[in-house]
């Protein structure tokens, strides 16, 4: 402390002498120079994240500017834009388009399913019910990702519970009709885009509920009452009051659903068709094909898309809702 330093010790017996010993000296030093303590506290995490994480991201970026020698299959460590050129082949553009479409649809569906849950939890649930709703969202969120996918494999299998249920309800014609459609259909739900879509929505839904609920909890109840006092129907209140105020929360949630769908490669691999998504393309390029530069270039796609997405979300005020 400055007082301690300014006064000579002999004339001020009320002030303790230096603590002595290594521990005391260190303690005194940190007290006099909080900047030093701050530096020491920040150094390990910043070094770790800076070297391990940021360093790896740069390694990734660097790799995307290398190219693969088509004859030897070896990586040519020279700067080139050839790999990015390969990225814009029709087949690869198809993969990108397919993934972005899926991510957009999943985000939309999650928002629609999440809204009533979040709205009920934010406005009507109290006390014990509130805790129940909270755990009701938190437990599926934290349950094992693979087990959740596995559960859907059980449900969507041809001999599984869904077929059984529809047979009991005499609705099998509906399932067969849907499966015979092009693109969304297939041999069974577990090898169709419909199945992939359902599982994506299921796995990412909690990521949408939480920010929407947080946004709705900040809407003052009297605003909704005022709207109906002024003669608005519930539908009008929703369109003109509730929805605009909840929108930042929805956008915040969509960051997760969109980004997670863009990068996932396990769900479409286990439940879905043989047509690839970005994540699968990355995985197969770096694994079986051994083309790490192209895999790296592929990962730059979701990073760029998410960059634009985050920029747009920030402008809509979504970060305040996180």
């Amino acid at each position: 402390m400055t007082l301690d330093a300014a006064m000579p010790r002999t004339t001020a017996p009320a002030i303790l002498p230096g603590s002595g010993g290594l521990r005391g000296t260190l303690s005194d030093l940190f007290w006099r120079r909080p900047q030093l303590l701050l530096l020491l506290m920040l150094l390990p995490p910043v070094l770790w994240l800076g070297i391990v994480y940021i360093g790896s991201l740069f390694a990734l970026l660097l790799q995307s500017f290398f190219s693969i020698d088509e004859f030897s299959g070896l990586i040519n460590r020279e700067f080139t834009l050839k790999t990015y050129g390969d990225l814009f082949q029709a087949a690869n553009l198809d993969i990108i388009l397919r993934t972005v479409t899926m991510a957009a649809l999943v985000t939309l569906a999650s928002a629609i399913i999440a809204f009533p849950i979040a709205y009920y939890a934010a406005r009507y649930a109290r006390g014990r019910w509130k805790a129940l709703f909270y755990l009701g969202v938190m437990l599926p969120l934290w349950s094992s990702y693979l087990v959740k996918i596995y559960a859907w494999k059980l449900i969507l299998a041809k001999e599984g519970i869904l077929t059984w249920l529809l047979a009991k309800l005499h609705l099998l014609w509906l399932l067969d009709g849907w499966l015979s459609l092009p693109i969304v259909g297939g041999n069974s739900l577990s090898v169709s885009f419909t199945g992939t879509f359902i599982v994506f929505v299921y796995v990412w839904l909690p990521f949408m509920i939480l920010p929407v609920q947080a946004a709705l909890e900040r809407v003052p109840g009297n605003l909704v009452e005022a709207s109906s006092d002024l003669g608005a129907s519930p539908g009008q209140t929703f369109r003109n009051v509730l929805f605009p105020l909840a929108l930042p929360g929805i956008v915040a949630g969509s960051i997760f659903t969109f980004s997670l769908t863009l990068g996932d490669y396990i769900i479409p691999q286990i439940i879905g068709t043989s047509r690839l998504f970005i994540g699968q393309a990355v995985y197969s390029q770096q694994g079986t094909a051994g083309n790490i530069p192209l895999a790296a270039a592929f990962t730059v796609v979701p990073i760029v898309i998410m960059g634009f997405y985050l920029w747009g979300a920030k402008r809509m005020g979504a970060f305040d809702a996180l």
């Binding site: 009533p116 849950i117 939890a121 599926p140 693979l146 449900i155 299998a157 691999q269 990073i303």
Partner: protein
């Protein structure tokens, strides 16, 4: 805060919310039924019969035990590293204001904000550029990196609620920095650290996307499960392991919730 009980929800909303919650929970409950089925070859529903024999079969499978042991060791060490780094970072960010504070928060959150595949392939390309062979430690390196954020979130929330005057009072009463940390700061943040640690453990125990890029031939439990999902060998064993994994991850989440529920910020909302 309203004092009355509040209006009752419209029926349509109640039904939609209930259906949404059922949609979230029924698939997980289904896992518990399938762990007891007698059917070996397919996913037929309803199960033709119920049995507990698969628990014994799973118990005697060395590959399951090896995967479990590796997962627990990786999760324990990653959690320990994340606890140290996350607490240090949280203490620095919440106790002082300095230039670049926002950047530090962003740096901590980034590994979990970007899709896992990016973290995974970034680490893999770094290992390949630096010629680091895959090992136990490459798995830990990846896991610890994204576990920091969970500890950090919990610790920051708690530091925000802890008043700085307590630390000053301790110093005024003659405690040195280490004593203040041991007797004042630590008891205050202990439950938040415990909650963060448990969530980090659960996160690491369940992680598969980054692990596929940073593990060599070794199998953690999620990698083992992924292998079984792609090339099924013995489905009933997978069913039992799935059920055990659900239970193992459930407990830390519930505990973390009870440890932090009185706070304004509850653990786990930032997976």
């Amino acid at each position: 805060m309203r004092s009355d009980r509040g209006p009752s929800a419209p029926l349509g909303l109640k039904i939609a919310a209930a259906c949404g919650l059922l949609f979230l929970h029924l698939p997980i409950l289904l896992i518990f039924v399938y762990a007891f089925t007698t059917e070996e070859k397919s996913f037929v529903w309803p199960p033709p019969g119920l049995t507990t024999q698969w628990f014994a079969v799973t118990w005697n499978r060395p590959d399951v035990w090896e995967a479990l042991s590796l997962s627990v060791r990786v999760a324990a060490i990653s959690t320990a590293i994340a606890l140290v780094l996350g607490t240090l970072c949280a203490a620095a960010v919440s106790q002082t204001r300095f230039f670049g504070r926002e950047t530090i928060s962003l740096l901590v959150i980034l590994p979990i904000a970007l899709p896992g595949i990016i973290t995974g392939i970034a680490l893999r390309s770094a290992f390949s550029l630096a010629d680091i062979p895959f090992s136990f430690w490459t798995i830990v390196l990846g896991h610890a990196t994204f576990c920091v954020v969970v500890v950090y979130n919990n610790a920051v929330a708690r530091f925000r609620r802890t008043s700085g005057s307590m630390i000053e009072a301790s110093m005024d009463l003659g405690a040195d920095g280490f004593q203040t940390f041991r007797h004042v700061v630590l008891p205050n943040i202990a439950t938040a650290l415990l909650a963060g640690g448990m969530l980090a453990f659960a996160l690491s125990f369940d992680e598969v996307i980054v692990t596929t890029f940073t593990a060599g031939q070794q199998q953690t439990v999620p990698i083992w499960m992924l292998e079984e999902l792609i090339r099924p060998r013995q489905r009933p064993v997978t069913n039992v392991v799935a059920m055990v994994v659900v239970l193992v991850t459930l407990l830390p989440i519930l505990l973390a919730y009870y440890l932090t529920r009185d706070g304004d910020q509850i653990a786990g909302s930032g997976k």
